[in-house]
């Protein structure tokens, strides 16, 4: 197992109390592409930062993260992270492509980041750019001169220059057009298949796009994973009522409302300050039982995957 998350709770401290953005996550990551899917406020981005970049006001409250069996994150101890960050685990934070310094050319940005690693880093950057079909002159350009797709591909090249084992990509395709979106996702798949990285965690709200390149999928709701398993199984035959409602609310080409009317999920997303008791999805769930409001579901194995729902306990 490359990365293991055990009973992780990570909260934001605010003036009016804690925001429980990650509220009990268990997850194992092997050599695979794992898609972490959730809607806004599901805690998916916080999960990414608590694994590799926890900083105030985010606090690790409980649980731990292990990399190759060694603890790298625990409550009030994230000192293990500096050893692995970027060399072994790299992250592309949300909006990274818009955070490149506008006054520095791309090669300068790379030089700054790779200080002390010698000149071959630039040579490697050149090879990688060619690999992803970007012209080498990108290195001599300013970030503003690059289109969205080129910029995002450049960011992925930069963040994998040290050949990390694990890459965490947070919403890397959400601001892109569909045609460039596909190019970026296929690029991630290629980086995994060719061994540049061993495993990738793609965090996104777009279940249809991440499904195209993922081996496994984990669906998050209110700071927890509700279902996790092989991508094909989760999409074709979801078990958790939230996963079912989410997947059936997404139109496909060929479905017109006059032939087949789709339904969204009723109600509003839960508050993470004060999440509903028991299963956080129960107020919106069409299959909820009496005990769903009082008992927290455990993660159980069912039909080749993990699911957290009292219907399956």
């Amino acid at each position: 197992m490359l990365l293991e998350v055990r009973g992780l709770r990570a909260y934001y401290r605010t003036l009016t109390g804690y925001v429980k953005a990650v509220n009990g996550v268990d997850l194992q990551l092997g050599e695979e592409i794992l898609g972490i899917v959730g809607e806004s406020g599901s805690g998916k981005s916080t999960l990414a930062s608590s694994i590799i970049l926890p900083k105030p006001p985010l606090r690790i409250v409980e649980g731990e993260v292990l990399f190759r069996g060694e603890r790298i994150v625990a409550p009030s101890d994230t000192s293990g992270l500096t050893r692995v960050r970027y060399r072994h685990i790299s992250i592309i934070p949300q909006y990274a492509m818009d955070s490149l310094s506008p006054t520095r050319k791309v090669y300068k940005i790379i030089k700054d980041l790779a200080r002390g690693l010698g000149d071959d880093v630039l040579a490697k950057a050149r090879r990688r750019l060619r690999r992803v079909n970007l012209p080498e002159r990108v290195l001599d350009m300013y970030p503003v001169e690059l289109s969205g797709g080129m910029k995002q591909r450049t960011v992925i090249v930069i963040s994998t220059l040290l050949d990390p084992e694990v890459l965490i990509a947070d919403e890397v395709t959400s601001a892109l057009d569909v045609t460039t979106q596909r190019a970026v996702l296929e690029m991630l798949r290629d980086f995994k298949d060719s061994g540049i990285v061993r495993s990738i965690m793609i965090i996104t709200h777009d279940i249809a796009s991440v499904y195209q390149v993922s081996d496994t999928l984990a669906i998050m709701y209110a700071g927890r994973i509700v279902e996790h398993g092989p991508a094909e199984k989760v999409i074709r035959d979801p078990l958790h009522p939230y996963a079912q409602a989410l997947i059936s609310s997404i139109p496909k080409i060929g479905i017109h409302y006059k032939m087949q009317k789709l339904k969204g999920i009723p109600g509003n997303p839960p508050s993470l300050r004060n999440p509903p008791s028991g299963c956080a999805f129960h107020p919106r769930c069409s299959r909820s039982l009496d005990e769903c409001s009082s008992r927290e579901p455990r993660m159980v194995s069912k039909d080749g995957r993990r699911v957290a729902c009292l219907l399956y306990e």
């Binding site: 809607e39 806004s40 992803v132 079909n133 970007l134 690059l146 289109s147 969205g148 797709g149 080129m150 591909r153 057009d177 569909v178 045609t179 460039t180 979106q181 596909r182 190019a183 296929e186 690029m187 709200h205 777009d206 279940i207 249809a208 796009s209 499904y211 195209q212 390149v213 999409i235 409602a245 989410l246 997947i247 609310s249 997404i250 139109p251 496909k252 080409i253 060929g254 479905i255 017109h256 409302y257 009317k261 789709l262 339904k263 969204g264 999920i265 509003n268 997303p269």
Partner: protein, 327 residues
């Protein structure tokens, strides 16, 4: 139903060779954002303008809503050129044509309560006349879009979810009792599980009140779900247009095909690698010929000339591949 100065026409809205040129940068380098676009809508029709960023779809919406003036061409609403309206006609136009926009979070002033925004809109539309119960009209509009007035009245915008805010912007637009609604990416900032509900509201408005709707977007599945006709745009030009089944189920234009190939669908996985092609040329490199030619897998000599908009059955395609097959 017509009010005031409007005529009954076969087409409620018609764009005739509409072009918009922006001047950019210090030198005023011209960029053609919309290039001789023509299409028409019948009353009660839902039409999707589909395109990626830079396709000019939002610029078209803003020209229809009179936020931007076309450089050339005309936009005709019920027989009148909307850019030649004068005085009261402008107010009357906004009673007929309303818009909703992509970002519901920035569509409302955060310091005012929900009902304030609706009252304000109502008053500016009523033009001084007050012969109705404001609260009642506002309640009705909220209920029309599936909001419970009891749950939202008295709240501030930040207390509502994106989906609720977007419903509220539709409610605000409905206060005018418009006949044409221009919806610019109305669901792209909403969570996946609430998008289809909002589209269902738009569909109901059309089915029950025969409202005409222009939906601007980039998501082909959402467009298929609700539209009767689609217009596919690329860098300011119409590539293909026609009935949604024709264009999205049996695409002719290579660009429509590329779009359909790239769209991620839950019922099928991408089979082949599309490869990392590069669609990032500068605009001015493409001033001549078909704008899609530099990325087109089927391009040939002819593509250096601008293709005509061909009529093939009920659809229109702008591509030299079909030049000898025009019906």
């Amino acid at each position: 139903m017509t009010r005031g100065v409007w005529n009954l026409c076969a087409n409620i809205l018609e764009l005739r060779g509409v072009t918009k040129v922006f001047k950019t940068g210090l030198t005023g380098k011209p960029v053609v954002a919309v290039d001789k676009v023509s299409f028409a809508l019948r009353e009660g029709e839902i039409l999707s303008l589909l395109g990626e960023s830079g396709s000019g779809k939002s610029t078209i919406a803003r020209m229809i809503l009179r936020f931007l003036k076309p450089t050339q061409g005309s936009i005709i609403y019920r027989g009148k050129d909307v850019w030649r309206l004068q005085g009261r006609e402008v107010l009357e136009y906004y009673q007929e044509v309303q818009g909703i926009f992509q970002d519901p979070y920035s569509s409302f002033n955060p310091i005012h309560r929900v009902e304030h925004h609706l009252k304000q809109a109502l008053r500016s539309l009523a033009d001084g006349k007050k012969n109705f119960d404001e609260d009642n009209v506002i309640r009705e509009a909220m209920e029309r879009v599936g909001l419970n007035p009891q749950n939202v009245m008295g709240k501030y915008p930040h207390e509502l979810s994106g989906g609720q805010l977007q419903r509220l912007s539709i409610a605000r637009a409905l206060l005018a009792r418009p006949r044409l609604l221009v919806a610019d990416e109305p669901v792209s900032m909403l969570d996946a599980s609430t998008r289809v509900d909002l589209l269902n509201i738009l569909a109901e408005l059309r089915d029950e009140e025969r409202m005409t709707i222009i939906l601007i977007g980039h998501d082909l599945s959402l467009a298929y779900y609700i539209s009767d006709t689609v217009v596919v745009l690329y860098r300011g030009s119409v590539m293909e247009s026609g009935h949604v089944d024709e264009v999205l189920m049996r695409p002719k234009h290579p660009y429509t095909r590329l779009l359909l190939d790239s769209v991620p669908q839950l019922d099928k996985k991408w089979e082949h690698r599309m490869g990392l092609e590069n669609g990032d040329q500068d605009y001015d490199e493409l001033s001549k010929g078909c704008k899609f030619a530099p990325r087109c897998p089927k391009r040939f000599d002819k593509c250096e000339e601008t293709p005509p908009l061909l009529t093939l059955g009920s659809r229109r395609v702008s591509c030299w591949l079909y030049a000898d097959r025009q019906s």
